[in-house]
Symmetry: C2
DNA sequence: ACACTTATTTAGAATCATTATAAACTACGA
DNA sequence: TCGTAGTTTATAATGATTCTAAATAAGTGT
């Protein structure tokens, strides 16, 4: 159980009850994980017996994303997927089961990007490997 | 001006007026391009002075995708992006301008995926390089 | 060309994720 | 404790996408 109050305050976010609870659900875990907003809402209900408004869940997730505590996973789905693993890493996407699987950085060889765009710098390089049966 | 009638028939799709017009807009071009459904609808209006129902545009795009004439670009956006370039290739995504830019295969070094999932085979490997100012 | 079956198109309704609204509430510094 | 700015909330609004069911067009056999 980490103390998230400081972490939030340091990023200019007030440590409200709701945000602290969401922090626990998101970050008090051994492993990082992927989720949609709806899955997160369910997890919160399960873990805290405490309903947080859907609007707040959206607000908080977006605030955390902006601060770099979460990131969106670029994938075509009707729902947006987020990842608590904010390090640069890659994914398998199982097309048949519609499931995302993290790849370790050591699972993918180095990637060299040879082209440059003037005035732009590379923020991230992510690989999506689609799998089928 | 290619003849798309055969192409459609060969894939089990009836060559209707609407589908042929959409083919012209999508494939009668020097270069491949990216589009959303709304952009495509606009392009059709501009090029053919002929309104095609939005439902038909959706149906057709999905049919073409299933047949492999189009593919979705995995990116987090409120609208789905499609690409007329169906070869395996990579993208820059300019975060500031929210614009996609194709990368040539020669712009990216070879990518080795070292991990395997039992019973699954790799369908595609795509890199998304996010750019910022 | 005709009749018949099946695919396709269409407008409009329905769905569903996400965002906006605006009123009530809360954190926090003075 | 007060005041203010930030948050939460229920609910409404938005907007992309899908569904529906009726009208139309294409393909097939005669």
């Amino acid at each position: 159980m980490t103390n998230y109050t400081e972490k939030l305050r340091n990023s200019g976010l007030r440590p409200t009850k709701q945000r602290l609870q969401i922090c626990e659900v998101l970050f008090d875990t051994e492993k990082t994980f992927h989720f949609t907003i709806n899955e997160l809402e369910q997890k919160i209900k399960d873990k805290t017996n405490n309903k947080i408004s859907l609007a707040t869940v959206y607000n908080t997730v977006h605030a955390f994303e902006k601060k770099g505590y979460l990131k969106q996973i670029p994938i075509n789905s009707d729902q947006t997927y987020f990842d608590t693993n904010v390090t640069d890493h890659h994914h398998f996407y199982d097309l048949n089961e519609e499931k995302l699987i993290d790849l370790e950085n050591s699972d993918v060889g180095p990637i060299s990007i040879k082209r440059k765009i003037n005035g732009k710098k590379i923020k991230s390089v992510e690989v999506l490997v689609k799998l089928e049966d």
